[in-house]
């Protein structure tokens, strides 16, 4: 995997990874160390500023913000990972099917285009209204929103590989179709898809936050960055800390994901030296399109 070899030289990937690892660390370590139950209301201690007892203060129900932040980061990352993983698998499956089982091509692509045509947040809102807010339905809904773009990307990458000589040669030599796919097609498809998936991760986090803001996200009292922000909105004057911490965590996660994707894909963001590249084609445009919420 030559693409990965150059990673160490790209500051984008390192910074991105650092951000994600830091967030993950908070999510994993704090629950073990903190004496507080993130869901237990302690109303007499509400709205306290950061102090030794509560490093990030307390919210309007008296719950420890740091403990909730850890859960929130964990929830956001879990939802985003789950979405990214399922979208990856489904996207690969659908994209490869579309390419190698010709009759399915039109059908799959039309469905994907149809889903892509409906703006993500609206589709998510409608799905959540139909199914009720729960973590499972949220993930299902995000998968529905994100998979079509992955499938399209897989398809276009696989198409370009399919035409190549060595694949034809392998097929002519009698290698079984499945083996052809796995050994020859998949590796070439994986790099652009990996970039895409990092964008899916970032997008999932943002859409969940938006849904929570509109009241349709991860159900209370479980903390999620989105619903922490939504709760904090009512205290934007007297308790702006409540917005600061989940906001910063959200920004860190999204930024981290995008930096990694950017770095793996060629580092357009952080590239300080020029390098000849082909014209931006479908793949890069798709990726940019994915970055928009």
């Amino acid at each position: 995997m030559r693409a990965l070899a150059g990673l160490r030289e790209r500051p984008a990937v390192i910074v991105g990874l650092a951000l994600l690892v830091a967030c993950a660390a908070v999510a994993l370590i704090v629950p073990f160390v903190s004496p507080y139950d993130p869901n237990a209301a302690a109303v007499q201690e509400r709205m306290q500023a950061p102090s030794a007892a509560h490093p990030l203060g307390t919210d309007d129900f008296g719950r420890d913000v740091l403990a909730r932040l850890a859960v929130g980061i964990g929830m956001s990352m879990q939802v985003a990972f789950a979405t990214a993983a399922v979208a990856l698998v489904l996207g690969l499956l659908l994209g490869l099917l579309a390419v190698f089982v010709r009759p399915l091509d039109q059908l799959i692509m039309r469905i994907c285009d149809g889903l892509l045509a409906i703006p993500g947040v609206l589709l998510a809102l409608a799905v959540v209204a139909a199914t009720g807010a729960s973590t499972a339905s949220l993930i299902a809904c995000l998968v529905l929103v994100e998979t079509p773009a992955v499938a399209r990307l897989v398809r276009s990458s696989a198409l370009s590989v399919r035409e190549r000589r060595y694949v034809e040669a392998a097929a002519a030599a009698g290698v079984r179709p499945a083996a052809v796919v796995v050994r020859h097609v998949l590796p070439s498809v994986l790099v652009p898809v990996a970039v895409q998936i990092s964008a899916v991760f970032g997008s999932a986090i943002v859409i969940e936050a938006a849904l929570s803001f509109l009241g349709a996200g991860i159900p209370a009292p479980t903390a999620s960055l989105g619903n922490m922000l939504s709760d904090a909105k009512a205290f934007v004057n007297t308790g702006w800390c409540l917005m600061l911490f989940p906001g910063a965590a959200l920004a860190a996660l999204v930024l981290g994901a995008n930096l990694i994707g950017d770095g793996v894909g060629g580092g357009a963001l952080f590239r300080l030296r020029t390098r000849p590249r082909p014209l931006p084609g479908d793949a890069e445009l798709e990726r940019e399109r994915m970055l928009l919420p």
Partner: protein, 529 residues
């Protein structure tokens, strides 16, 4: 294509210039004062603009249970009797009434010379038709009136024969929510199922237009004739000094408050978070008013809630101070109240039987009762919604926390309001529901004790409620209320937690502004320029 030279400096200059010009123009325009869009011909504004907090699906006063609709329609329609400041019914469209000794026959005399907004004279036929329609679409009225109908005795007289005495008839007729509005008979009799579409009343303001989700515009009705007593609550004189009233729908509270700060509105509800921003201002008056009562309602058909000891466990676990503080965010904004009416309502207020379980926060007792009920750790569903300013949501969150402390595996089911109502009515899949309710003047008007709401199909409860409805003398009222209260604290189909207040801000330039339980009364209001 030719390569034309465009030095970088030019494009940068163009960019900078655009930004500068645009910015100055816009900032300069910002200097103009945006007050209530009034014209300055007199000392007072021609229009009152009042922001309301939720959008409405209909303006029909009989059908809609919405407080916003009631607030708007109170300016358009009138009732036979109206609530004054102390919630007592006063003559409005009815100039007098008599009742038989057994409290079952009522005769109302309608005021003479009252005109509708369409110029027609108000007659007894209009009153009867309106009230009979009100009865068919309002569950509360159906319980009140049963099969009885209002009859026309003559041009100015309406009669009613009840199957049993109803001491609360006047209170119900005066209740400002989903109220007994009087409209022309032709409209009342032909009203479609989704509500009337013509809004003709006898009130001091008439309907002009409703831009759905944006605003409702009213203008003064110059041929208005009213009673000539001192204004008090919904009763008394209505002078309509201001020509027009516009109710603007501004659903987001941050938006509403910011619009008040910038001068677009002269009235606003103030959240605890916003309070510091208005407290210091010289030209603003802050008031604190009672707004709602918080209640926990059980679904008596669910496995969990049908067990008395489960309900006792929940009641014992509730710390009312913590609950109310969490919900209203400020200890100043609540008071404890074990009763279903406000303590100012001396005729009906009682705390009989509340010692056993009100605000005891006895976690050991709670756990004991829970064990007694045979609770097996299954999920207990609290039904809630983010809509309507988080009153349901916050109640649910704090309740859940207090229940989890005694080992109840409580989960929140959050829906939007439409789905919430559907689930609540279906009585499927939920155990507990908590939120804020408008506090009525008599227990017979309580929404949450009707079978609709939690399935309390309890003959004894119905009997006690009927007794309060029938009570006429103050002694009877006290006794029947105490009996009901005691029964409620013993059987716990619902649990009262406390009353909440709200802060409101009004600019000092506003004169003659009244409120009653948070509802705006604008028909004697004017705003100095």
């Amino acid at each position: 294509m030719s390569t034309h030279r465009r030095p970088r400096i030019t494009s940068a200059a163009i960019l900078a210039a655009t930004v500068l010009v645009g910015g100055t123009a816009l900032a300069g325009c910002a200097a103009t004062d945006t007050t209530s869009g009034t014209d300055t011909t007199g000392a007072y504004a021609d229009v009152i603009r009042y922001p309301v907090t939720a959008t409405i699906p209909t303006l029909d006063p009989h059908i809609s249970p919405s407080g916003v609709v009631a607030n708007i329609d109170a300016h358009i329609y009138e009732t036979l009797v109206a609530q004054d400041e102390s919630l007592a019914p006063q003559p409005a469209l009815a100039e007098s009434w008599t009742t038989s000794e057994d409290g079952r026959s009522w005769t109302f005399t309608i005021r003479d010379g009252v005109l509708f907004h369409n110029g027609e004279q108000l007659t007894a036929a209009d009153v009867a038709a309106s009230l009979n329609r009100w009865k068919t679409v309002t569950a509360r009225a159906q319980t009140l009136l049963g099969d009885s109908e209002f009859q026309v005795a003559d041009e100015r007289t309406v009669t009613l024969e009840l199957a049993q005495p109803q001491g609360d008839l006047l209170a119900q007729l005066a209740n400002p929510l989903q109220f007994a509005a009087i409209m022309p008979a032709s409209i009342a009799e032909n009203a479609p199922a989704e509500g009337v579409t013509e809004y003709i009343g006898t009130g001091p303001y008439q309907f002009v237009e409703w831009n759905v989700d944006r605003d409702v515009r009213l203008t003064r009705f110059d041929d208005y004739t009213g009673v000539d007593t001192e204004p008090s609550g919904y009763a008394g004189r209505k002078d309509a000094p201001t020509q027009d009233i516009t109710f603007d729908f501004v659903v987001d509270s941050a938006t509403r408050f910011s619009a008040f700060l910038s001068g677009e509105y002269d009235f606003v509800d103030v959240t605890v978070d916003n309070l510091p921003q208005v407290e210091g201002q010289d030209d603003v008056e802050i008031t604190k008013e009672l707004s709602t009562g918080y209640v926990v309602v059980f679904n008596m058909t669910s496995d969990f809630a049908s067990e008395l000891s489960s309900r006792e466990a929940v009641a014992a676990a509730i710390d009312a101070d913590d609950f109310m503080t969490a919900v209203v965010s400020d200890p100043e904004l609540y008071r404890l109240n074990p009763s279903y009416v406000y303590e100012e309502n001396t005729a009906w207020w009682s705390d009989a039987g509340s010692d056993a379980f009100y605000n005891i926060a006895d976690l050991d007792l709670a756990r004991e009762k829970l064990a007694e009920s045979g609770y097996d750790g299954r999920e207990i569903h609290i039904l809630t919604s983010h809509d309507y300013g988080e009153v349901y949501y916050k109640s649910a969150v704090i309740l859940q926390s207090q229940l989890q402390a005694i080992g109840v595996n409580a989960v929140l089911d959050i829906y939007d309001y439409a789905t919430l109502i559907q689930h609540r009515n279906s009585l499927q899949g939920w155990d507990i529901y908590a939120g804020a309710f408008l506090v009525p003047s008599t227990p017979s008007q309580l929404l949450y004790l009707t079978p609709n709401y939690g399935g309390a199909d309890d003959p004894r409860l119905a009997e006690l409620l009927d007794a309060t409805a029938a009570a006429i003398s103050e002694a009877d009222q006290q006794a029947s209320s105490a009996a009901l209260e005691e029964y409620l604290w013993e059987q716990l189909p619902t649990i009262n937690v406390g009353d909440s207040y709200g802060y409101r801000a009004v600019r000092n330039s506003v004169e003659g502004y009244q409120t009653l339980n948070g509802a705006p009364i604008l028909w004697n209001t004017r705003i100095a320029e």
